[in-house]
């Protein structure tokens, strides 16, 4: 049976998996609150701050930035906790004992957490338009609709690495909570990274979130050149893929260790 790993099978598995987990998460009031209400609070905060700064042209940037922050939070908590969540559900053993390689089992879950993050983007943009009359004057409306899914894909792949490393760490939750704000900051989701100290620059460049945000922001309020959107999009995808590949290596170790240390069930 070589059918498990052919490209069409992997694509199909990914689509079915993402659909399954997105609909599962969408039915949880807790997930939806995290994904929608909290980003709305941040969007409101950002809009008032940008207004106070006499920067009315950038209100859409504020709303989109809050949306990006929401996507990252969703990936951070969703993907970071992906394994733990399946363990609590009691489905982890069933997933691991399936003949599908573990990375292919987990990738749809981490992608789903990024897709759930787009609820935040939708919510913050609509919120801005309806409540604050933020004009939807996207510089590249079509590219925006491409950049967001690309950003989601890239973050979902990065999520696989989060999922993999967080299983290895005994105190992953303790790590997840403080990782929220620094990535917002380092990726330039709301504030350009140019205001940060120079030594932080390499960290920013290594994060797919930086390039994803750059693409989305360029599509929102950038210059006329489409390259400003497409180039960071390509970098985001490449980085995401790179992290996903590292994740595959880490997961091999994770699975072996879990079988040795008996950490799959809730025992």
């Amino acid at each position: 049976m070589t059918t498990m790993t052919t490209v069409p099978r992997i694509l199909r598995l990914t689509v079915v998996g993402v659909r399954t987990h997105v609909s599962y998460m969408s039915r949880s009031p807790l997930e939806i609150t995290f994904a929608v209400l909290v980003p709305l609070v941040y969007a409101t905060l950002a809009v008032y701050l940008f207004r106070a700064a006499d920067d009315p042209d950038r209100l859409l940037t504020a709303a989109v930035g809050a949306g990006l922050m929401g996507i990252w939070s969703s990936v951070l908590f969703g993907s970071g906790g992906a394994v733990q969540n399946q363990r609590w559900l009691g489905t982890l053993e069933t997933l691991v004992s399936s003949p599908t390689p573990l990375p292919l089992v987990l990738l749809p879950i981490t992608l789903a957490t990024a897709v759930i993050g787009t609820y935040a983007m939708g919510a913050t943009v609509i919120w801005g338009t309806v409540l604050f009359d933020v004009p939807l004057d996207f510089a590249h409306p079509v590219l925006f609709l491409v950049a967001v899914p690309v950003c989601v894909l890239s973050l979902g792949m990065m999520g696989l690495l989060l999922a993999a490393t967080f299983v290895l760490l005994r105190n992953a939750n303790a790590l997840a909570n403080p990782l929220d704000a620094p990535v917002w900051l380092l990726s330039g989701m709301l504030v350009p990274i140019t205001v940060l100290p120079d030594w932080t620059r390499p960290v920013s460049w290594a994060l797919p979130t930086t390039w994803g945000s750059r693409a989305v922001h360029a599509a929102t309020s950038g210059g006329p050149s489409a390259g400003e959107v497409l180039a960071p999009m390509a970098v985001a995808l490449a980085l995401g893929l790179f992290y996903a590949l590292i994740a595959v290596l880490v997961l091999g170790r994770v699975e072996r260790r879990a079988r040795a240390a008996a950490t799959l069930s809730l025992a």
Binding site: L30, V38, V41, A52, A53, N171, N177, P178, V191
Partner: protein, 273 residues
């Protein structure tokens, strides 16, 4: 009954109540607070608020809406909210999660000391976090705070975390009635970021948001703390307002706890997960 035995009986009652407040509170903190392990405590309660503070400081620098001092003090005060709001919620709502709520409500003891004893550890916890955040952030950003302002700041931070803890307790009371109370505390914690004026100058907010902020914990404390740090002295009016807000939430918590406890017997909502 002689006067002596009466006073002895009274002393015994006071001691018993104190025991319920202190010992009961401490045990319930260990049993019900999810973040007492050292990594969780450090990560979620100490590092997380500090990084959030930095996020807002840089946002403020970029937008030039307010200076570092504004964000530093505002966020130091608000940093207590994670422990206080979630802690207060967990102090009540986690009883349901562990299936122990029924046993607690069967206790013949007075409710007020039972529940306030539970809030007490979070007051101290919140204070510790605020002091830590303030100290580290001041050192990191090179801000100077006059030494004379320190006692006043301590008083303000204590009032803030006390008010915030009873606010959390009032939210936790909702846990006697509703299933997903953590949703409420989650939203409440982020609303505090916006409406208390910790991160956005309140004068830029619309009237109704300012009005809501006035009756939320932390708002007045944040303003008092800013004035103190700028060498403006302790504004007793603001400290009083913070304490009054806290007292209001204390009353609300007691009322809600009593109402929902009674209601739970009628509706049999206690053991529903």
């Amino acid at each position: 009954m002689s006067f002596l035995s009466l006073s002895r009986a009274l002393t015994r009652r006071v001691v018993r109540t104190l025991r319920l407040v202190v010992v009961g509170g401490a045990i319930s903190y260990r049993a019900l607070f999810n973040w007492t392990t050292p990594p969780m405590f450090i990560g979620t309660l100490l590092v997380s608020p500090l990084l959030q503070l930095l996020f807002f400081v840089f946002l403020g620098r970029q937008l030039r809406v307010a200076d570092d001092r504004f964000y530093l003090l505002g966020n130091a005060v608000v940093s207590a909210s994670t422990a206080c709001v979630y802690g207060g919620t967990m102090a009540v709502a986690n009883e349901r999660r562990y299936g122990t709520l029924g046993a607690v409500l069967l206790s013949p003891r007075h409710r007020a000391p039972l529940w306030f004893g539970r809030a007490l550890p979070y007051v101290l916890n919140g204070l510790l976090i605020s002091v830590f955040t303030l100290t580290v952030a001041t050192l990191l950003l090179g801000l100077r705070i006059p030494v004379g302002a320190l006692p006043g700041l301590a008083a303000v931070l204590l009032a803030a975390s006390a008010g915030c803890s009873v606010f959390g307790l009032a939210l936790g009371a909702l846990g006697l009635r509703f299933r997903d109370v953590f949703l409420v505390s989650n939203v409440a914690a982020s609303v505090l970021l916006l409406l208390t004026g910790a991160n956005v100058p309140r004068e830029t907010l619309p009237e109704w948001m300012r009005a809501v902020g006035d009756v939320l914990p932390l708002t007045h404390a944040a303003e008092a703390a800013r004035e103190l740090s700028a060498g403006g002295g302790l504004d007793r009016g603001r400290l009083g307002a913070e304490l009054a807000t806290g007292a209001g939430y204390a009353v609300l918590a007691v009322v809600l706890l009593a109402v929902f406890e009674r209601g739970s017997r009628r509706r049999a909502t206690l053991d529903l997960m």
